[in-house]
Symmetry: C2
Subunit: 212 residues, 2 copies
């Protein structure tokens, strides 16, 4: 039995190490965005990074870590651009079920996410809200693809500052689900509001019917 | 005269080296997202990255490279999260004036930008379109902050595939400017469409009046 389980344990251990590497890569990217060291040091570090990039590319996948069922039975997408813990591009956003049937996320943007001086890029807020609203649809049992998304920018979003993202289904009609959400200060002051229409692909509906 | 110019030349040389480092950091992040090397190698590389991160942090700014006037007189924001060549998070998006008075961008997403399996995350497309439409407003002489942004997702956007982004002002009224844009295949097939309302802050208008 131990032999049968070993490969899975190994795979999970490797994915944990990959998540640590992805976080270190985020820390590196933050340091690049803020570094004030001299030119010769920048050039020396670039050469070292090129070597590490080559080592990582010695064995290379065609696509990021897949959308899959984790050993604990939950769905995960470790390679996702917004939530994937194994993807350095991801914040990563962590989303939890809220008590009201919606979803909630505690998030902190970084200087790397700057748009207007001192504030988070509106596009970065949009990126986060697209994902969060999609999770809001999924939490209501209506997982789908984004059909339309409307964002209303009320106040600049600060970085290096704890914020709260929320999203909740407002209405559903066949394969269409409407979700409202926002990013706010911890005291509830809204910064960016969003409304999204999510559409469940008909093949997913058929799959669920087939499974039922 | 040479002495007076020297510091600026040095500063520009350093920024060029920083842009090369930022690109190498993007290549590294891509390699992390796709690597298939073994766990012990991942851990060894993480340790080396931690050392490089420390070296970069020996002198550290509080904010990314600023929005500023470049030596050639153009405006630039090298630290911007979407277009900043010195920011590893940035695509970086490059935006050019189009012949019709709008803006145009040739762009290629990477596997790192994955959302649905094999496709670009809808949030990443939203991030790019927010910036592109803002540039469309600026190209029409109405630079402003995003007020509202609506995205319509028509087809999945592929990565590793050359795409075209466009944006153009459709209407302006006082400090409000409406812009339409999209991301499309090179043959013109639209993937994501967007409409944005951009608002010029009154202090910017006053500044221009003051300058005039």
């Amino acid at each position: 039995m131990k032999l049968d389980l070993a490969p899975t344990e190994d795979a999970e251990g490797r994915l944990a190490a990959l998540a640590v590497l992805a976080q270190q890569t985020r820390d590196l990217a933050d340091a690049v965005a803020l570094t004030d060291v001299a030119e010769d040091e920048l050039t020396a570090i670039t050469a070292d990074l090129a070597t590490l990039t080559e080592r990582l590319s010695a064995a290379r996948r065609q696509t990021p870590q897949p959308f899959e069922v984790a050993p604990d039975g939950t769905l995960r997408h470790l390679g996702n651009a917004v939530v994937g813990t194994c993807n350095p591009h991801a914040l990563p956003l962590t989303v939890e079920l809220d008590t009201d049937g919606g979803v909630r996320s505690e998030l902190t943007f970084r200087p790397l996410h700057e748009g207007p001086p001192g504030s988070v890029h509106g596009g970065v807020s949009a990126m986060i809200l697209d994902h969060l609203l999609g999770q809001g649809a999924a939490a209501a049992g209506s997982a789908g693809m984004t059909g339309t998304l409307t964002l209303r920018y009320l106040r600049p979003a600060p970085y290096n500052h704890p914020l709260v993202g929320t999203a909740r289904m407002s209405r559903t009609e066949g394969r269409k689900t409407w979700v409202d959400g926002r990013i706010a200060l911890q005291d509830g002051t809204p910064l960016v509001e969003a409304t999204g229409l999510f559409i469940t692909p008909s093949k997913w509906v058929d799959a669920v019917r087939g499974a039922g």
